[in-house]
Amino acid sequence: MDTLIIEGTSKTPKVIFDAEKGELLLEGRSIPENSLEFYIPLMEWLDTYSQEVKTDTIVHMKLEYFNTSSSKCILDFFRKLETISNRGNKISINWYFEEDDEDMMEAGEDYDAIVGLPFAIIEQKEA
């Protein structure tokens, strides 16, 4: 299965979904006016992945900002992963936030409370 790679922009995150390694990365900003349009290819990739999961899956969420419409798309993304997990596949989420960014930490806690997947909320110190 092909790795999904999408370069990040000022409004959309970098995406690297590597099926072989079972590592899915979303990094940067998710603030497009039309979030649904951006997330459709990601959801389609997950549909295919769900049929071919070969290893444990770790999702790295390294978001700096996300807007309201993205928040729903991110939840849908997690829910799809939850469905894959319910079929006996091990999936975990690493939710990163920058030092002192309590809002992003709380956002991770919100998803953790809603979605039935193990979340690690990880503070990233400035280099």
């Binding site: 000022s10 603030i31 006016e33 807007n67 309201t68 729903k72 709380e106 919100d110």
Partner: protein, 178 residues
Amino acid sequence: MSFNLNQWFAENVSENTLFYYKGSVGTERVTKILEKIEAIMDEKKFPLRERKKILNIFIELVQNLYHHGERFEIDNTFKSYGCIIFNTVDHGVEIISANFIKIERLKVFTDYIDHTNSMGTKDLNALYRKVLSNKHFSDKGGGGLGIINMIRKSGNKLKYCSKRTEGDNFFLVLTVKI
């Protein structure tokens, strides 16, 4: 006396204004406004925590104008129109966002602000999770999630006022203090 947009705008821009914009709000304009706000905050050396809160609320307000700002007072053929003003105030900043709105949407919107403003932190967090989990949620609007987010992130209640323009049309002004 009838409502005058230019007069309202002039009255709300002052020597404490860091940024102001009045006009159509398309995708490129949204990007430019957000870039400008970041540049201003860099220049003024806003602390990271404050900078993130401000930009988050700007994203919410400017994209709200993009999705819902109407321009029927000026030109029936054009949507996505509004005003945004970024002011320094005592112990912080305020963002003023304003747009034209039909009376039927105004009531729903202001009732929702009153409702969320009345909530404590715990109830607000619970409401956020409930609305986020709600399947009835369009890509255009967040079913009130944006309002909840702005109160949570700013730590302050939202202020609003509206002015009748003509017929059943209003000019809605929303102020967020951070």
